[in-house]
Subunit: 241 residues, 2 copies
C-alpha cells in the first residue's frame, strides 16, 4: 500500500501514526502541501480530489482519512480491537466522534489555523483581527464541548471509549494544530490536558516523532522564519495555481 501524506496535515498525521503504531507496512510518499504539490495536475491521477492523505492499494485509490482508517482495519485483521471495537455499541461511540469531528473539531481548529497562519502566509499580509476573532470564537466553543461534553464521563478514559481509539488520534492531531498559530488549546481545560497526556503516553515515541515537524513550527508566526516559508510558497504558487 502506498500512503500519500504531509505530516503538516492533521489527518495525514493521524493515519501515519496509526499505521506506524500498528506496524502496518506502507510505501511512504510525501506530498509537500507547502510546495502545493497536491495541486499539480499529475496528483489528480492519485487522488481525484487533490488532497492528502490518500492511499493506493494495488490499483485501488481511496481518499478521506476516516474512510482510509476503516479500510485499513477491514483489510488488516491483526489490528488490536480497541482502535475500532467490534462491539456494535463501542464502535458506534467511535463512529459518533469520527462523524461529529468533521464539522466541529476539524472545521474549527483547521479553520483557525488557516485564518491565523496559512492565509497571512499566502496573501503576504498580516492576519485580519476580525477574522481571527471569529474563527477563535468558534474554536473555543468546540474545544469547550470536547472539555465539557465528550470528556465529562469519568467512566471512560478516552474520547469515545475506555481504551484509546482512532477517535483520539484524529482529535489530538487536530486539537494541537492551532498551537502553531499561537493558541494553546489546553490552557484552562483540565480534562483536555489530562486526556492529551494519556494519548501521548499510549502512542509515544511514534506520536512525537510524527509531530516533530508541526511542533517545530509552533510560534513561527512571530519569527523571521515565516518569511522563508512565505518565499517558498510564492515561488510555487505561480507555477501551480
Amino acid at each position: 500500500m502506498k500512503l500519500y501524506y504531509d505530516l503538516l496535515s492533521q489527518p495525514s498525521r493521524a493515519i501515519y501514526i496509526f499505521l506506524k503504531l500498528n506496524k502496518i507496512p506502507f510505501e511512504s510518499n510525501v506530498v509537500k502541501l507547502g510546495r502545493l504539490q497536491h495541486l499539480k495536475s499529475s496528483f489528480k491521477d492519485i487522488n481525484r480530489f487533490k488532497r492528502v492523505p490518500c492511499i493506493v492499494d494495488n490499483d485501488f485509490h481511496l481518499a478521506e482519512s476516516v474512510a482510509i482508517f476503516r479500510y485499513i482495519v477491514a483489510t488488516n485483521p491483526t489490528i488490536a480491537d480497541h482502535w475500532y471495537p467490534k462491539d456494535a455499541k463501542e464502535r458506534a461511540r467511535v463512529d459518533e466522534y469520527l462523524e461529529w469531528q468533521h464539522n466541529n473539531t476539524r472545521v474549527a481548529c483547521a479553520g483557525y489555523f488557516r485564518v491565523a497562519y496559512m492565509l497571512p502566509l499566502l496573501q503576504r499580509k498580516p492576519p485580519s483581527k476580525e477574522k481571527i476573532n471569529k474563527a477563535k470564537g468558534h474554536m473555543v466553543k468546540v474545544l469547550d464541548l470536547i472539555e465539557d461534553v465528550w470528556l465529562q464521563d469519568e467512566s471512560k478514559r478516552f474520547l469515545a471509549t475506555n481504551e484509546i481509539s482512532f477517535a483520539d488520534l484524529m482529535a489530538a492531531c487536530e486539537i494541537e494544530q492551532p498551537r502553531i498559530a499561537n493558541y494553546n488549546p489546553f490552557e484552562g481545560r483540565p480534562n483536555l490536558t489530562k486526556w492529551y497526556e494519556q494519548v501521548k503516553l499510549k502512542t509515544n515515541p511514534v506520536y512525537d516523532d510524527a509531530s516533530a515537524y508541526a511542533y517545530n513550527l509552533i510560534g513561527t508566526m512571530d519569527r523571521s522564519r515565516l518569511y522563508k516559508i512565505l518565499k517558498l510558497f510564492l515561488s510555487y504558487r505561480v507555477k501551480y495555481i
Copy 2:
C-alpha cells in the same frame, strides 16, 4: 429503538427513509425544528448535542446520522448488502462519500439553505444578496464536483457503487434541500438528474412520502405562507433561545 427526527432535516430524512425501506421497526418521535424543540433543555437528556436525528436503543443514546446508519446495519443483519457492502473496497467507496459529504455536500447545500431561507426567516429581514451569492458559489462548486467527479464513472450507476447505497440517500436528501430556497440543483447537470431519477425509482413511494413536507415548502420564499412560518418561529424563539 426510538428515532428522534424532523423530516425538514436532510439527515433525518435519509435515516427515516432507510429505516422504512428496510422495514426496521422504530418508535417515531418528531422533534419540530421549526418550533426549536431540539433546543429545549429536556432534549439534552435525549441527545447531548441537541440535534436531530438521534436514536435511543434501550438505554443507548446515539447521535450523528452516519454513525446511526452504521449502528443500524451492525445490529440488523438482514439489511440487504448493497446499502453498505461487506466487501472492503465497495464499503470503502461508500465510506469515502459519507466522509467527504460532511464538508462538501452538507456544508454547501445546508449552508445555502440556511443563508437563503432559514436566516431571513429568523432575522425577519430579506436575505443578504452578498451572503447568498457567496453560499451559492460554494454550492455550485460542490454540485459540479458531484456531477463531474463522483458521477463521471459510467461503470457504476450510483454515487459510490453500482447499486444504491446509503451514500445515495444522504446525497439526494441534501442536494434537493436548496430547491426550497428556489435553487434547482439539477438544471444543467445531466448526470445528477439521471442519478436522482434512479435513486427515486429505487426508493419510491417511501422517498416521496418522507419528502412531502420539504417538497411542500419549495418556493415558499415568495409566498405569504412564509410569514405564517415566520410568526411560528418567533413565538417559540423567545421561549427557548
